[in-house]
């Protein structure tokens, strides 16, 4: 009977799919990580727990571990709520100029982190514009405050990470029909309560996912803690890791470094589990079979004050650093007072002159288009298989794909070298651009996985069921119903992967090869030359290009949104 056969083939297909999926995950994700594990548990060629013992035996490491955790938690606890409030304001309310704010608030994400860090020292450092201004204002002989230390690291990290959450949340809030909020309003809840009692918990999947991303980003980040933390005696695990790799020349350096990285992996794994645990129920359908209209919530008397607050934030956090970078890129040389005669466009000319720069733009743009598209597609399929239990052990997939993002770039870089330096299956990708592509795929897979999984949790299953009862088969349903409804998750996942793929540094610098320089590497080298103004110009160029892309993408997006609004089309 055809029924029976179809039933049997289902089972065998499941086995096939499982083998395929885990095969790929094994090669791409687990194999490199295994190198780290072996490195961590090896001493002069033999298995040993020496590294681990040494790690836990050294209270500096433990302190660093504590700091990393504190940092991660603090940053997550600040950045995510901030992002949620902003998302709600710019998407669901009648805030003034919300379209503009919506773009502006993402800009910090477009500035390469190490340049961002430099910009912040220019702003808030001892000789930063702000401090200098205040000093002159109050006639102080020493700077008013310092960004060196835990406070500074947290501040800048928050500013650096909130866009991750904002990008995810602002999109998923779009799918939330008005009626859930309206029901709370009519029950007498004020705007704040609506946000806390309804929006936050209903969007929990997206909130938790973005929190997870922010947390992992923070604990595995090197640039900011190194630049702002070390001077303030605030040492985190990643700084230690770099110390072991760079500073000591003792043969166990790498081993201990990877050992520490494994600790980060474990922490990230826990975060992943917490996130999964928080959102294990199906209580979050915001996209249901009954569409609700989406009137923006009216802020009433708060409208103007809130607009001003957001504007101030944008001014300080977004345009502040941009301005700092712009000024730097226009001054003839560092440290010269800001006066017309010190201004020049020479650095931009220098930049345009460098063949290297153009080459790296080409390389990076290529990577930044291919990689996100690939992994977003892959993520859709993976999440689909996982949700429909088409693979055995589906619960492990999430953990596996988030591993490579949890360790500092330099470490995963080392792992990638060890994995791919020799030809695998006859193909050698080492010293080609493809090792970079591969590394990015492995490292950024977590983004689309998390965002798509989250927005899938918000689709009411009846919508897919309706397609199936209409006679559509699995992937048909995926294409016709799920994918369009996943729009938010897909686009945010793509964007989250796009930026780092464009400007990634720590990983690329280990894996690039002559001829395959990336924007990050080149910008970094230019910086190293002491050609700071040129680096500034470089950063401005990057931001400009990304903004233009974003505009186009936005235009396109706008267009959808506009005719969406014209037809008052939206999900809920």
């Amino acid at each position: 009977m055809y029924l029976k056969s179809s039933f049997l083939s289902r089972d065998s297909r499941k086995i096939g799919i499982t083998v395929l999926v885990y095969g790929v995950l094994l090669i791409l994700f687990i194999y490199p990580i295994l190198h780290l594990v072996t490195a961590a548990f090896t001493r002069d060629g033999a298995f040993s727990c020496g590294n681990m013992l040494e790690i836990v035996g050294n209270e500096s490491n433990l302190r660093a571990l504590k700091n990393s955790l504190v940092l991660g938690i603090a940053v997550t606890a600040i950045a995510v709520p901030l992002a949620l409030v902003f998302s709600w304001l710019v998407v669901r309310t009648d805030l003034h100029a919300r379209r503009f704010f919506r773009t502006a608030l993402v800009v910090p994400f477009f500035i390469p982190p190490f340049i961002m860090a430099f910009a912040w020292t220019r702003l808030l450092g001892n000789a930063g514009y702000v401090n200098v201004f205040l000093q002159n204002l109050f006639q102080l002989d020493s700077p008013l405050f310092s960004i060196y230390g835990a406070g500074g690291v947290i501040l800048v990290s928050v500013i650096y990470t909130y866009p991750y959450s904002f990008i995810v949340l602002s999109r998923s809030i779009e799918n939330m029909g008005a009626h859930l909020e309206e029901a709370a309003l009519i029950s007498g809840a004020g705007k704040g309560r609506v946000l806390r009692d309804i929006v936050l918990p209903v969007l929990l999947p997206s909130v938790a996912s973005s929190a997870m991303i922010v947390f992992v980003t923070t604990i595995s980040m090197f640039g900011i803690p190194a630049l702002l933390g070390t001077p303030g005696r605030f040492i985190v695990v990643t700084t230690r890791i770099y110390g072991y790799i760079g500073g000591f020349r003792d043969p166990n350096g790498i081993g201990i470094a990877t050992g520490l990285s494994l600790l980060l992996l474990v922490i990230a794994g826990m975060a992943q589990s917490v996130q999964a645990l928080m959102t294990r129920f199906d209580r979050y359908s915001t996209i249901t079979g009954k569409s609700a209209p989406m009137e923006p919530v009216r802020l009433g008397p708060f409208r103007l004050p809130l607009t001003i607050l957001v504007a101030l934030f944008v001014l300080m956090v977004v345009f502040g650093p941009l301005a700092a970078i712009l000024v730097t890129s226009l001054t003839r040389a560092l440290g010269l007072p800001l006066s017309p005669e010190n201004m020049t466009l020479a650095h931009y000319r220098t930049l345009a002159g460098m063949g290297l720069v153009q080459r790296s733009f080409r390389n990076s743009l290529g990577l930044a288009v291919i990689v996100p598209s690939l992994i977003t597609l892959a993520a859709v399929l993976l999440v689909y298989l996982r949700r429909n239990k088409r693979v055995y052990g589906h619960q492990f997939i999430d953990h596996i794909v988030s591993l490579p993002y949890a360790v500092p770039g330099i470490v995963i870089g080392v792992a990638m070298i060890l994995s791919w330096i020799h030809p695998v299956l006859g193909v050698s990708i080492y010293n080609t651009i493809w090792i970079l592509a591969l590394a990015y795929i492995v490292r950024f897979m977590i983004f689309p996985m998390r965002t798509i999984d989250a927005s899938w949790k918000q689709i009411d299953s009846s919508l897919e069921e309706a397609a199936r009862i209409s006679g559509r088969k699995n992937f048909g349903v995926l294409r016709d119903i799920s994918m369009p409804l996943l729009r938010s998750g897909i686009s945010s996942g793509w964007l989250l992967a796009f930026m780092p793929a464009l400007t990634e540094l720590t990983l690329s610098i280990l894996l690039y090869s002559p001829g395959n320089e990336t924007i990050g590497v080149t910008a970094f080298n230019v910086m190293e030359e002491g050609l700071v103004p040129v680096a500034g110009a470089y950063a401005m160029a990057i931001v400009m290009i990304v903004l233009i892309l974003q505009m186009l993408h936005g235009r396109f997006f706008e267009m959808n949104r506009m005719n969406k609004n014209r037809k008052k089309r939206n999900y809920g």
Binding site: T230, G247, R332, E529
Partner: protein, 313 residues
Amino acid sequence: KEESSNGISGTITLYTSETLTDVQSYVDQFELLNPGTKVEIFRLGTTELTARLMTELQAGETPADVIWFADMALFEQFAQDGRLLKIQPAEAANIPESFVYFDGMAYELRLIYQIIAYNTNLVTEKIDSWFDLTDERYKGKVGSASPFVSGATVTQVASVINDDRLGWDFYKKLAANNPVVSGGNGGIARGIASGEYAIGLTIDFMARAQQEQGSPVGYCYQKEGAVYVPTPAGVMAATDNPELSTAFINYLMSVPGQLQLQANGYMPVNKNVALPKGVPSAADIPVLETDWKNLAENRESILNEYAKIFGID
């Protein structure tokens, strides 16, 4: 396939932490002088460079033919492990004996020192001593690279603790002035130029570069002695093109190469090449004695001690 006059040809890869444009200028000239040759530059900061090199070696192969960066200890280790090729470039005759390391496995190509630089807008007093760094006036405005990032600073530590005028006490005093210990020398130079730090320890040519760009930067060779930062260059034993590799190092020691270096603001080693203007000769620069042996043996404990003093452990 065309061959250059002296019969060398092919492609080699150079691993270096020298600044990119400088290296590029040497390579361009070299390729011009030796048509049919190609030198691929792989430029990284010392930390990443060593990390990559070590990893590659651990995995059993590296594309590197010539290596050139400021990590004497690593070179020493390589020399012992026989990872370096013993070469006799003709030009070696023109450079002082002291700059030939591990009898011909590595060579010094130009001299750099870690010195004290300062921002001329913020520092008006005459600066000439290590102890200017411990001056109350500059509390919180002193910058220094971290030994966990900068090989030069490791050398510095090994030298300072070896000098009885300074020693660990100096660092304790310095720490009391709570300096900013972070990143590499490049960052410190930038910081000084931008005024982030009033004064700090960095490499002389970096200070010079900032000066040339027009930044308000001054520098001095400490009267107690600057830190001489050896930056060896050598040929990997595993290279598949020893001739070209040797030729490249030979070029760097030759007059044209040294002139190029000098033009970039470095102190040449070739006795037939004059110093850049405004730069004292190596003879006139007091230098601290570096205890390489101690460093090689107690590197970890030394760095830990340093880290403890500056609270960056």
